[in-house]
Subunit: 219 residues, 2 copies
Amino acid sequence: MSGRLRGVTEVAQRKQTRISRRQVDKFDARRTELAVATLHTLAELGYARTSLREIAQNSEFSHGVLHYYFADKRDLITEAVRQYEVVCVTRYDEVVARAKSAGQLRDEFVAMFFDTLEKDAILHRLWYDLRNQSLFDESFRAAVLEIDSHREAMVWRVVSRYAELVGGTPAASASMIYLTLDGIFQRALLHHLSGNADTVAQLRVELPAAVGLLVTVAE
Amino acid sequence: MSGRLRGVTEVAQRKQTRISRRQVDKFDARRTELAVATLHTLAELGYARTSLREIAQNSEFSHGVLHYYFADKRDLITEAVRQYEVVCVTRYDEVVARAKSAGQLRDEFVAMFFDTLEKDAILHRLWYDLRNQSLFDESFRAAVLEIDSHREAMVWRVVSRYAELVGGTPAASASMIYLTLDGIFQRALLHHLSGNADTVAQLRVELPAAVGLLVTVAE
DNA sequence: AGAAAAACTTGACGACTGTCAAGGAATAAC
DNA sequence: GTTATTCCTTGACAGTCGTCAAGTTTTTCT
């Protein structure tokens, strides 16, 4: 039987079958490969204009294969979002690890901040697109909230370590600190993609001071 | 002649004709009416899922009329965004005007902040949707950047007045202050629409302190 | 080797999209 | 009251969308 009546559960079953036959690697590898292709297409076109045929064209397969590995479009996009998380959520950890002084941590953080802003701009705009999409489409919310909390934790690791090195304590909650730095990033991204380099440069100048505001130095 | 070959300029011409015949009121009134219907549809469905036929169904006309008053879909949506601006950009001005003390201003600001967060949630999520869309679609950027700067000015009027009343000065640039408060709003919106009332309440508690951080009190 | 299963392609379906031309209905001009 | 003009509806167009069944190619198993 070449039955193709697969729901989400049936895809999971099929996956289970593969696991038992020790072919899970191949199946999951393709799934990931296609999810990555999806990620790049989404980053290029945005959620509103990304079609399955377009995604397939960014891979080496035809559009039909997407329904072989994914139950439906949502399943595919959700998986793509997870791939984003893998890429983006440990970005500053090396910076934290090698920081010997507060000044060094701050400088390298700022450098990394604006480096990824420019290098991964289209990937970041996708993140904000999907986070926003979750305001309309309930099916993304769980994944979005999870990634958001991981991003918050990532920022917290940076700032709390910075506070430690500078001999003080964070001046606000993890939540506040995250949304402030994320707000700076979002704004910088908007102006970067708008070609407004001056505004981006201005934000770069202000970022260290903002970090300073978020940490109180003990007297 | 019943010619319907209208580009953007021809729509403008036709409008000009009406002006000379003193019927500009009627034409513009319909345009605005349809733009408002568009705004509500967008707020309900999001940019990605809003079609012209859906918009027309939220008005009392048929879908064809949209191309009588607007050159194309972008023209329509751009006009809808302008309507959003009219509604949203003077929200806190009355609060500023009637504030007799720093404490009153702060409290009423916080109250208004979370009032509109809940009452106009779907309108606000539209704003963020469109702002994000401008990261992908150049044609929205000018309007988005303009509205964004108006929002920044609105927030600045609140905070600078607060600083005045408290006898201090703003501790950061207008840009920084705006993106901080906007970040809080965005986060609160996400959690409000996710049904996570606890997180929203937490943000409400933290908002006054955040405002405090943004203003330095003179010694 | 041949048989069975998995991986992938192709082409089609119904639904939906933005656009626009043709024509009817309403209003204004004379 | 009879033309003109404006306003609005209807229906169609060419295209795209997600989905899926049928069939071909490739891999795996025995």
